[in-house]
Structures are given as C-alpha cells and as structure tokens.
Homo-oligomer: 561 residues x 2
C-alpha cells in the first residue's frame, strides 16, 4: 500500500516525491469509457493538445445546510503525479474501443502523463460553497478530460462525508468525544477507509477502523462486542483468576471472588436495593475476563442481556474490584434501547456507587453510546437530556444517508483561450465560463461575507476598496462590499510547465485543524440546522456581463407556434 | 491488482488457487479495533481456540421490498483463503493495543490463518430473506471474530446494490438496456468498482467504468459528454473532412458539407418545417467530428444547447450523411429535461426522417436517457409513456439512496457445542441460536414457499412429507407445508480441516444468470413494488422450542416496583 507523502510543511514543494493514491485501485483506468472515446475523437480531430480549463464544483450544499467541507484533494494530486498507462492498460483500452480506431492513438496514450497539467485548488479542509471552483484543472484537453471521472469520484464522497462529520460535531458540541464506527456498514472496503479519513478531517476524534489507523495515523478506539459476552457460559470458565495491582506491589489471587463479593455488596446497598436481582453470570464472567486482560482499559458493553438489571451492576462490581487494585475503569458502552434514559440511569448508578464506596471519580465514568445515531438523534438526545460522553456513529454517518451524493461536476470553461459555457433549461445547471480566480471577502467582525469569482486578468479585490458583487444569474441580486480582508481561494498544487511554486500537501492533522478553525470562523446563522442563511457567492461585474453576453450568443432562438 | 480465480466450474475445488481480494486494501487489518482487543482477551483467558459458530444475516429486506440479492461472497472467500498477518501489520497492532499486552499474544497472531475455518454459504446471486444465515462461519473463536467486520463490510454493500439493481431491472422491464453510470458519484473508488460488479449481477447490461470492465469483464459503454460538444467553436475547426464509405469503395472528401446540405434539407421538409431554426454550429461541428472518429458507433449527446431545436436535427443530419456512406448511426442520449416528452419528440423526428428520406430503421434509432434516474422515475416514465430504449443510471443506483445499508450482522450462535443467544428488548434483534441448516421449500407451482432453519442434527425436510414451519418468535404463526422440492441453502465453500468437498467460486456471468433465474422463479406478489407479500421464514418445531427455552434461561427476571 502506498505511503503518505511527507513533503516539507510549507513553501515550494515541487521537488518532493508524491506517492500514488492510497487505494491501488485508483489508476488511469478508473474513469468512464467515454473519456477514452472522446480522447480518440479529440486526437482524430487534431484537437487533443488544445489547452483547456475545467472547473470542478458542486451546485448545492448537502444535508439541507449552507456549507460544505472540501476534501479529497490529496488523492487527486497523488493520481496525477503518478499518471501513466501501463502496456496492459493500453491493450485493454484498445480492446474496448472500436477496432477501426487507428494504432497511432495508442502511441499517443502511451506518451501521456500529467506533466503539462496545472491544478489550482482550494486548500483541503476548507469551508466551501456552491458554484465556486474547488479545483481548476488546465492542460491538453484530451488529458484533462480523462481526469474528470476520477477527480469527481475522489472529491464527491470525501467532501460529502467530511461535511456530514462536521455537522455531527456541530450538533454534538465540542466537549463530546465522537467515534467513527462505520466500517462494517460503509459502501465497501475503501468506503470504510475513506469514511474514517474524512470523518477525522470533519472533526471526529477517533475511528474503530484499524486499516485507517495504520494508513493515516488516526487514533483508534474499541473494546468488545456482544459476541464476546455471549461466548462465556459461566464464571467457572475463568481459569487464571489472579491480577497484580496497578503498582505491582501485590497480587489478588482470586479477582473473580473479589468481583462477586462486591456485586453482592452493591445489591444490598440501601440506595440501590431492588434496582436489580440476580445479574447474568455469563456476562459477569465476560466482564471479569475482559478486566483481567485489560485492567487499565476496562470499558464494558452492558446491553447484551439487560442494561440496568445486569450490565451496569456487573460492570460496577468489576470496576470496584479493579479500583481496589489501583486501576481506574474507563466506563460503559450502550448499544441499544433508550440512550437518554439508560445513560441517566447508569449515571445515577455510578454516582450512588461513588457515594457508597467513596471511590472518587466513579460517578463521572465515561458513558459511550452507539446504535444507529445520526444528526437528528443527537439533536433529540440533547433536547431530552442525557449523560453520554462519547458517541460511536456508524451507518448514517458513513453512508451519508441524508444525502445521496454531493453532485460535483467538472465543466469546460475555456479552450484555446476562448471561454465556453454549458447551457441548460435549468438555470442552476448553467456553468460559469472563463478561467477564473476566486476570493473570499471578510467583514469587520472577521466573518467571511462573500466569495467572488472574477476573470483571470481582472485586478483582484483589495482590502478597504468598495467592490460590487453580483449574483451570477440573477440580475437584481447585487451588493457592495468593502472587505477587511481578502483571501485568494485557488492555490497552485501542480504547476505543469509554468514553473510556479507549488503548495505542499499538508499532513492530515493540519487539514483537520484548518477545517475546525474555518468552521469556528463562520457566522452562526450560516451554521444553524434550521433555516440557515445562505452564504453569498458572487461574480465581478465584468464577469457577470460576459456570462450573459456568451449565454445569448450560444442559446438558439426559439419560434413560438 | 489481483486476478480472478478460475477454478473448474463444478465439483471439488479444494485444489484450486484462490487469489486475494480484488481490492488490495482488503487485508486482515480491515477490521474494527475491538476484534483485536477481544482476540487478546480470548487468548488471555485461554478461550481463543474454542470452537465457535457465527451466523451472518440481515434483519429486514431493503428498499421497502420483500427480497434481497446475496452478493459479496467471493471477496470474503478470497480474504480468508489468503488470511495472514505481515510483520508490519503485527507491529502496528502491537502499537495500537495497551503496552501491558503480553508479547506471546503477537506470536499467536503471527501463526494465525484460516485453515481451520469452515465457511458455509448460500450461493452468491441467490434471492435471500431476513434472518436466514447467508454465511455460517465456524472456527477458533478469536480467528472467526476477526472476520466479522470485513465479512459484513464485503457483503453489506454488495448485496444492497445488487438488490437495488434488480429492483431497477424489475421496473424497467426485460426489454430495456440498463447501463450503470455511477462511478463519479459512488462512495469512493471501490464504491464505484463494486457498484459496477454487483449491478451487473443484479441484472444491468453494462457499465461506463473502465476499471470494472477490465477487472470483471463487464461490457463497457460510453460516448461523449457536454464538454466535448462545448470544446468546439465552429465547423471551421474540422481540418480532415474526408470519410471513406463503410465498404471502402469510395471516399466522401467533404463530409462536413454533406452534413450541412442534409441539415438544410431537413429544415425545409414540410413535416418538420418550423420545428427548429438555425441549430448550434459548434454542436454540429462536435457531432461531425465525433462521427468522423466513430463512423460505425455514432451516438450523440443532444442536450448541450437545446434538444429539439438543435441537438436532434444536428444528429439527424450527421446520421443521414453517415447513412449515405453505408454507416448506421446508433442513436442519441438525453441527459436533462423531460425525458418522457423529449424521447417521444425525438422518436417522431426520427420517424419523419425515415419517411422523408426513406432510410430504413431510422425511426427505430436508439434513444438513451440519463439524469438522476431511480426506481421511482423509471416507474413514472412507464406510466407517462416514453420512447427510451436504454437507461443510464448513476447516483441513486450506486449510492443506494433509498436505503442507507443492508444492516448485516454477525452473531455468535454456538460455542464449544453450546448454543448461544443474543437478547434484546427489540424482538427483531434477538438472534436465533444453534449451528443450523436451512432449506428452501418449493410448492406445486414451482414457486419457493418458505425457508426453514433447523438444528444441525435434525433430519432434513423431505419432498412430499408434511412439515411444520414455525415463526421463530411468534407463537401463533405456523403452517404445515408439503414441499414438492427441497433445496439445502448452505453449501460448503471452505472446509477447514474437515476434508469435505468445497464448492467452486462461479464466474461472474454465472452468478448473474443465477440471480436473474431466481428472480424469475419468485411468486409475483413477493416482487411487486406496492405492498409486496412477505416471504415466509421459519424454524422447525424443535428449534422453536429450543430458542424459547434458552431465551427464558438467559433473560434476567425483572422486579416491578
């Protein structure tokens, strides 16, 4: 498997080695067949080397929100930094195209790489908005066209799931621990691995996915499952019952008996008496055995049989026995039932134990919860009141159930220095022509106010100058802005043959930090879940005029009958 | 990338070589961390070699339907046939577990493979139902536990998307061509590749995904995009205008002029006059150029500017010019707008051309449609009436928007010959204990009637014998069945050390054929989209009694207060 690229952190990175994509299945063949038929047609027409500019952007923020996190850039850069067809791939393409295609075309394909392709992009982990190019790719039309499908594939899901993660973080609040538990429900192996990576960028703290931990250095979390609990039949199964104390000073020869004695004590505590009767003994055996294996990391799944009548008391008995040996248990995990109610009941139980046994901190033991959580259930739990400290979130997070896809597109905006437009009866699908620059303008309070796109050769907006920002398609929507800060959004990641300095690919942690910081800088009304205010995306007055000139020029004039 | 396994087609396949998983990222580390913490706890308790049986099954059919297609088995078999930790993986696991874990555990991990693991499974491509094990895995508990996450990951999405494809096929009908166009919107690279594979199993005809075509031999389809059309500025760009006739007998020196002359003729045809004015000339240039590259495979995307006023007339002019040279055009693709209306208008246009120019077959040219299609839009198109021959389906198909996940689970049902049950307050989440066999019973008309699970040592149901089938959890639901045919569902795919004969892994085409045949055999009321009848899933009388005995035994008795 490919290693992570480790270029220097800042400055010109053009000399660094960029490894191939994380998933070895990402190859120049990971594209739609029509990219090759078009490449042939371009080549046949002698157009293949025409210089083309494509914009990659999306049209609508996902999840009913007004913001998106941009992710997936590094994998795109890795692909083009290593873009080259193997002979085996060439011969497969040849087999897949009509036999009438000329052989010289395959010689052309053999020679293709992306050394003449320029890539400008917004920094990965940024907060981004519809219509503003996330990536601008410039190069020979036939080559850049081949990149459409893999680029869109690598960015669509990455950005969608990072945004989903950021939304979950927003609802859960900063103080909660968020764990991504989606591997088993993700859409295939690298659906799982990508989910772990991009949820981390979006603000999650850790993952259960070991492969993702190894590939990306994401913190790992996990304890045991129901199967572990049900694999035990009775406490008699535990053979080696001894446990050394935390400081190594003494050994408890029968840890199981210690646990059983404590369980009996708990049962007869006045404050808990009647809460539970006989607990499940195979569960008690499983917990005891798990504690013997991980005395410093004892976290138990307590809902295999019954949370309050079995799991929590069994856990407390084991945790108290550990405490007697100087170990501090971690807590419990709930994976079913009414999480608000059960977490509050468990908290009360812990607090009663703390009081009765005088074990400091016992009342504050960690309560983790999982089981089909999503943005809505987190919100509902907050409203109800709960005692959960950590959420393990899987299915709805990683499959992005609330939104099928981000719907990124890759549109030709210029060829041979001629701006191009793609029309549609649906105005939201009309593309914004021209090779463009884009800027984020910040207001007095430090919030971003508006993104503005302008033609490549227009003078950039300046701090303190009054700038007219126009809606790209709606004549009546425009506003003057005097920015307090101007940030150019597109940065050079591949300079092609231009010799420009290239941005480094930042470390995953830095991408995550950027994401978290940018989200904090957003004006709160853009972020709220109910009826958020749309962030403004605009074009310069000059670009506005040009769009509409080109539009009229290309659209056929109808004849009413 | 791994090659496909090519064992003999029938009989004992135990001697064949099984290659690793298609995606090299599928490794023994592609699992949840808790599988390793549990493995350590099992090992520490001396339980790691206890013989355990796990069932992999789902609880509810997806998409509001009453059937599911089972897929993903081959990738699971490939994983375990090659299951072995590398030293690098071992050292990563060591880093990820608490430092207190004993070194000897890593020696144990080093020695692990799946040579002692038995896998029984339903044949891939079969129609399957909730609660009935799709896969039964038996082996040392610590090893089998490690397989939980990757098995569920590899089967969940595969089965979900195959089912989604089958449902799309059902609505579209047998006569339509179904093309999977989802790569760019899929959840990452192998979301795309898996979607192509499993949609093919579910009844799709082809994919646009070249990598999937190469890996699995799936037929490829594709033509050109809007960008190709907008990359042309005017017909003057076409340099080499000559085209040889299909039989090679003559050459048209100026194919562009021939096209332009025909376009002019079409415009003044009495039956079409007034339908369109001047068409977009850059589009005409693009179509002409595409036809020069692919004279025998001319299929044009006609909605870049305006379908009826520009795309269709331009297409017809090029198609007629090709026809004059003995080439038969393929047709058009619509990618926006009202597909029902536009396809009917295009059909009328084609028929008018056939009549006016006397070109046989022109009226029947292929009309393909794409643009955010799903089951519902296909259904709506059918109801409205349309003239589409082929559907290109992407986003909603491959992301399975209508259903987040299949929700497969992997539950311990027996350990050391002791049946185990997992309880839950939600009855649908209670697991069915025991190592089981399962059978499909067929009725007089050849339809499958009921699936029945029974204990491993019970006598199997026999043709012509009266069998009591009981709902596993609902006392009052039971029925007698006299099967006309009995099919044992679980077959041996990995024999472990038992020496049993193993099933071969069938070729993809055979899996697809099985799927299509099994769907045809289903009783129509199970298949209908609105209020389908649930297919019956049952247990034997003996197993029923045992489940309820175990349930009472394990559940704690509450105390009402």
């Amino acid at each position: 498997m490919a290693e992570k690229s480790n270029g220097p952190r800042n400055g010109d990175c053009s000399s660094r080695v960029i490894h191939g994509p994380t998933n070895p299945m990402v190859s120049p063949l990971l594209t739609d067949l029509y990219q090759f038929t078009m490449a042939y047609a371009y080549w046949k027409a002698g157009k293949h080397n025409e210089r083309a500019v494509f914009d990659l952007y999306f049209r609508k923020n996902p999840f009913g929100g007004e913001y998106t996190i941009f992710a997936g850039l590094e994998e795109c850069i890795r692909l083009i930094a290593n873009f080259k067809f193997t002979e085996e791939e060439i011969s497969f393409i040849k087999k897949s195209l009509p036999s009438s295609c000329e052989d010289a075309f395959y010689d052309y394909l053999r020679g293709i790489d992306c050394s003449d392709v320029e890539v400008y992009a917004i920094s990965e982990g940024s907060v981004v908005f519809p219509k503003v190019p996330l990536v601008r790719v410039e190069g020979p039309v036939a080559v850049v066209q081949l990149l459409e499908t893999p680029f869109v594939n690598l960015i669509n899901y990455a950005s969608l799931v990072a945004t989903n993660a950021a939304r979950h973080r927003f609802v859960a609040g900063k103080s909660k621990i968020l764990l991504e538990f989606g591997l088993r429900r993700a859409q295939g192996p690298d659906g799982g691995i990508s989910a772990s990576k991009y949820c981390y960028i979006g603000g999650f703290d850790a993952t259960s996915n070991v492969a993702a931990g190894r590939l990306f250095g994401i913190p790992l979390r996990g304890t045991h499952s129901h199967a572990f609990v049900s694999s035990f039949m009775s406490p008699d199964e535990i053979i080696d019952k001894s446990l050394r104390s935390s400081d190594g000073s003494r050994t408890c020869e029968d840890f199981l008996s210690a646990v059983q004695t404590l369980l009996n004590k708990i049962q007869w505590l006045p404050s808990l008496h009647g809460t539970f009767g006989e607990t499940n003994q195979s569960e008690l055996a499983a917990f005891t055995s798990y504690a013997l294996a991980f005395p410093s990391d004892f976290l138990a799944l307590v809902d295999t049989y019954d949370v309050i009548r079995s799991g929590v008391p069994n856990f407390c008995a084991v945790a108290l026995a550990l405490s007697d040996l100087g170990y501090q248990a971690k807590g419990i995990r709930l994976d079913s039932g009414d999480l608000a109610y059960l977490s509050c009941e468990a908290r009360k139980f812990f607090q009663a134990i703390e009081k009765e046994f005088g074990v400091p901190g016992f009342g504050k033991l960690n309560i983790s919860a999982s089981n089909d959580l999503n943005e809505e259930t987190l919100d509902a739990l907050n409203k109800q009141g709960h005692e959960v400290d950590a959420f393990g979130i899987g299915t709805y997070l990683v499959t992005c159930y609330a939104q099928a896809a981000l719907g990124c597109v890759f549109k030709l905006v210029e060829i041979n220095n001629q701006p191009r437009i793609k029309l549609s009866e649906d105005v939201s699908k009309v593309s914004i022509p021209c090779k463009k620059r884009s800027f984020r303008l910040y207001g007095k309070e430090g919030y971003p106010l508006v993104d503005i796109m302008s033609g490549e050769n227009e003078p950039p907006p300046k701090v303190g100058e009054r700038i007219l920002c126009r809606h790209p398609f709606n004549e009546s929507k425009r506003a003057y802005v005097v920015p307090q800060q101007v940030e150019e959004l597109l940065k050079c990641y591949r300079s092609g043959k231009s010799g420009k300095a290239e941005e480094c690919l930042p470390a995953l942690k830095d991408i995550r930090d950027r994401c978290i910081k940018q989200l904090e800088k957003m004006r709160p009304d853009h972020m709220r879940r109910l009826n958020p205010t749309p962030y403004k995306v605009s074009v310069s007055a000059k670009l506005y005029d040009f769009i509409h000139f080109l539009w009229l020029n290309e659209a056929p004039v109808g004849e009413l009958q």
